[in-house]
């Protein structure tokens, strides 16, 4: 699989990035490695100097939808898939699709407006105003202005312009890749043999980390290294190590190319 280098202009948000990934590169989201998308998102977030919470939230939302969509592909065909979940997923997908279409529409409209502005910029208006002989007719504009008004106006003019800043500290915690999660579990699972998904995600704070860990489990399942059991309906997942070989033999290259 070709390495998907994300060398991009500065993206103006998650939609922009997603549009780029799907359209510019003409990739099928299921062909492109999910970790690339996730990592590209994270890299983009890091690049933005003034982090903002809305953007981060938006990212997590979209990432979660993508991951859900992708995970459907990794799961073996199962007729027992909950119909409600299935419908909800389609609904989310449709929502994402319509937002991408809207984003693309305005992107193209903006490009056209840029062209119009460029053309208009080739004509320069006359701004010389009235000749000096008419200036005497102008009223005294300072008639009602006091020295204190001037002082207040100065303070207004030099007041620092507010630039909204949100701490990025909480964002850095979510810098995890699926490959990292796979490696961690390859270290742990052969030793314990069996673990609940809850144990495997114990101590993880961010939802995105749990999602990434879940993807790693699916990945190992797909490669046949583990089995997943769910003893009770709606109960917790149990992960069982099936591997007999040495762990070295697990080829990380095969991890659905989840190399960041």
């Amino acid at each position: 699989m070709m390495s998907h280098a994300v060398e991009t202009p500065v993206f103006q948000g998650p939609f922009d990035l997603l549009l780029h990934l799907i359209l510019q590169d003409e990739v099928d989201l299921y062909e492109v490695r999910l970790s690339d998308i996730v990592d590209a998102y994270l890299a983009e977030l890091e690049r933005m100097e003034a982090m903002d919470l809305d953007l981060a939230t938006e990212f997590v939302l979209i990432a979660a939808t993508l991951i859900e969509l992708k995970s459907k592909r990794l799961l073996p065909d199962d007729d027992d898939i909950d119909l409600d979940e299935e419908l909800a997923l389609w609904e989310e997908r449709d929502l994402l699709l319509s937002r991408l279409v809207e984003c693309k529409t305005f992107k193209d409209a903006a490009a056209a407006m840029g062209g119009i502005a460029r053309d208009a910029g080739r004509s320069y208006p006359r701004t010389a105003g009235v000749e000096e002989r008419f200036l005497g007719l102008l009223a005294d504009l300072l008639e009602h202005t006091t020295a204190d008004d001037v002082r207040s106006a100065f303070l207004r003019a030099v007041a620092p312009k507010p630039t909204p800043q949100v701490s990025t500290a909480h964002i850095h915690q979510i810098r995890v890749t699926v490959t990292d999660a796979v490696v961690e579990m390859l270290d742990e699972l052969p030793r314990v043999g069996r673990a609940s998904f809850a144990d495997l995600t114990d101590g993880l704070v961010e939802r995105i980390e749990v999602i990434v860990r879940f993807l790693a489990v699916l990945e190992l399942f797909k490669q046949g290294w583990i089995d997943i059991e769910q003893p009770h309906t709606l109960g917790g997942l149990e992960v069982v190590w099936l591997g007999t070989a040495e762990v070295d033999e697990v080829d990380l290259e095969l991890v659905d190319a989840y190399d960041g």
């Binding site: 103006q12 948000g13 998650p14 939609f15 922009d16 549009l19 990934l21 799907i22 359209l23 003409e26 990739v27 099928d28 989201l29 299921y30 003034a50 903002d52 809305d54 953007l55 938006e58 969509l69 459907k72 592909r73 997923l89 389609w90 997908r93 994402l96 699709l97 937002r99 991408l100 279409v101 809207e102 984003c103 693309k104 529409t105 305005f106 992107k107 193209d108 409209a109 903006a110 490009a111 056209a112 407006m113 840029g114 119009i116 502005a117 053309d119 208009a120 910029g121 080739r122 004509s123 320069y124 208006p125 006359r126 701004t127 010389a128 105003g129 000749e131 312009k161 630039t163 909204p164």
Partner: protein
């Protein structure tokens, strides 16, 4: 071409006023100053514009943002740009253009609505656009919260050289074609039916 005295005076006075105006001169104001109807002003300016065009002048009379103004002919931009170094209006960034497009087509619109369409917070960009005079508060959402609603300004029309918002291409022209839609659709398909 014969022109009676009154018509001649009217035309000359209009030319003089158009020369001194610093903003596009609204036909209503011109009509009031020259004591004729707005219709007559519109006709007069249209004729003048055609005359300058026919006599191949280096300037044009155009209708921008609802008013008439003299401006240099676009073909002469290379000469004018040698002289007008400053004052060249700065280019709008991609983010600014996209936000401006959303405001232009969706006004009145709140910042939250803009952010929802762009997928990112729009506060910084909106502040820049508002400082540069391209957008402004035009009303408040009557609903709870009373969000400030924004719209584009006269300066925006001037920046684009448009007479009114109606001259913007229809938004429908930009709705992605079947090809793009399919690509997006395919990209987001949960089933592997290919």
């Amino acid at each position: 071409m014969s022109e009676d005295d009154q018509e001649r005076e009217l035309r000359r006075a209009a030319e003089a006023l158009l020369l001194v105006t610093e903003e596009p001169l609204q036909p209503e104001l011109l009509a009031q100053l020259l004591e004729v109807s707005t219709e007559r002003i519109e006709l007069l300016c249209t004729e003048l514009a055609a005359e300058y065009d026919a006599t191949d002048r280096g300037f044009q009379l155009v209708k921008v943002a609802g008013g008439w103004r003299y401006q240099t002919h676009p073909e002469l931009a290379p000469y004018v740009e040698r002289y007008v170094l400053e004052g060249q209006s700065a280019r709008l960034s991609g983010a600014a253009l996209e936000t401006l497009a959303i405001v232009a087509y969706k006004q009145p619109i709140s910042r939250a609505q803009i952010a929802a369409i762009r997928g990112v917070n729009a506060d910084g960009v909106m502040r820049t656009l508002s400082q540069r005079g391209y957008v402004e508060e035009i009303s408040r959402d009557p609903g709870p919260g009373q969000a400030v609603l924004y719209g584009t300004t006269q300066s925006f029309l001037e920046k684009l050289g448009l007479n009114s918002l109606d001259e913007l291409p229809a938004l429908g022209d930009f709705v992605p074609g079947a090809e793009v839609y399919e690509a997006l659709e395919r990209g987001l398909r949960p089933d592997d039916d290919e």
